[in-house]
Symmetry: none
Subunit: 288 residues, 2 copies
Amino acid sequence: MAKRSDADVLMQRIADEFEALPRQLQGVARYLEEHRTSIMVQRVTEIAEGCGVHASAVVRFAQRFGYSGFTEMQAVFRDAYTEQAAPARSYQQRIRSVIKGRPDKLPAVEIASRFIEASKAGLDELAAELDESRFQAAVDMLANAENIYVVGVRRSFAIASYIAYALQHTTKRVHLVSGLGGMYREQLRSIGKGDAMIAISFPPYGKETLYAMRVAQQHKAHVLAITESDLGPLGRHASVVLKVKEGSAFAFRGLTSTMCLCQALFVALAYKLELTVEETLPRGEYDD
Amino acid sequence: MAKRSDADVLMQRIADEFEALPRQLQGVARYLEEHRTSIMVQRVTEIAEGCGVHASAVVRFAQRFGYSGFTEMQAVFRDAYTEQAAPARSYQQRIRSVIKGRPDKLPAVEIASRFIEASKAGLDELAAELDESRFQAAVDMLANAENIYVVGVRRSFAIASYIAYALQHTTKRVHLVSGLGGMYREQLRSIGKGDAMIAISFPPYGKETLYAMRVAQQHKAHVLAITESDLGPLGRHASVVLKVKEGSAFAFRGLTSTMCLCQALFVALAYKLELTVEETLPRGEYDD
DNA sequence: CACGTGATGGAATGTTTTTTCCATTTCTTT
DNA sequence: AAAGAAATGGAAAAAACATTCCATCACGTG
């Protein structure tokens, strides 16, 4: 978990040699420590200015620690950041490698633990990239809606059906747009102003979901999109977008992050509506 | 709390104008959205490469949005980062103070992070307690079955419906016992010897699921139970039991571990059946 | 107090990166 | 299918930037 980056190592070295440094370079050292996180985006000149020092002093500093110049030292910080900030790629790759690696006889359990590992990475990413204000906006939107329509097809249907189930524990009227009997159109007919729709869809985007969203908008309802990107056909037109990036292995996409997000959404909503445990989960004859 | 940086505003503008953009610039837009966090440390060339586009296209993109060039646009992201990175130090403290000062003022996003945390812990436990031989047995049972019946009600229905969906990508005949129209009995009628049933249920156990399992056993079908304990009414009688202990946060039961397990199960099955990409997810008109 | 060592900052240099320009291609429209 | 508009990519020009050089300055030491 706590991996020691090259930047950490360097900072340690700087601390060790600090006392042996000339006055200005000590200033540089202090500055680096203080502004560790922003060095990667600053120019030599900015840093020099920040230290009240000439640019060449900063370069000399870098060279004193074995780098060819400032640029090379800066790269250390940049790399440390990008490695930590882009677990996105590694997550995508990990989940992909779950199936990809076919050394003939991978036992089932091995596949399972790798898949679980990858899912955990997915949750990390979800937590890291969750947009605070959007999430709040999503909760508010649902809290203010009288009727909530939920739509998701095929891969996303399970999610939609869960949301619909969970929302039944509130006082909202909930409508799961299932398309049962080919009645998409009819199930959407009565959506109206002030209502909310939760639409869940990922590339290549189910056309039923897109259709549902268009209808919702024509009827002036708010749309919460749970999707992969702001720029996809769903995200582009929604009132609020919550992004989930599920890694995919071959054409097999994870679903745990999405599920987790939806549950979190529901919990936050229940909290806002001040539902008690009993209300959210009445334990009666029909519980499961 | 809802701090809207210039970068947010820009991203919004990009999303709005997205459709009007030429192909390459759309690619750039997508890239920016995807790599929002690392744009500030990247060179035009890197970004251009990442988009599979010439550097000048990136510059044109920036200009299209009113900047003099890429550099000016990059500054927006850089500033957004530096503003947000500075107070990041006090993050831990802020969290703590939020928790301390009355839980009825928790911001929604805080609830979400905690929920995600709990879900991650759940996955850890899942990985730790996954029984190797049972998992293998579960995969084998499904691999050998001709017909697979899936049943789960209320909270577990979403899971059941996902499994049913996923299994449709194999050559098995899959039956989701939905109870639609009150036809539990009828949907189970044709289950028989050699068939498999996947039953998902947790305390306090849906009676529909228990009923389905009894029917399956009377008809000499194998039952895979996904449940909390070997000793519950479901686990006690099943042929194979896969245990999931969902962590709970805010007195609310998670579902991510269960989802994850089921996906892992499917991946392992697909692997065993040597399904190819095309077979698992044919990308056609109806995909989502 | 004079000398030497090392630090410092201004300016020149060299390198990298961005931006502009323009020829060519691609797409649209009629 | 032709004409026009827009998009694209190569390459040159421009700008930004880091680095080096060197003259000057400060400080400690004999």
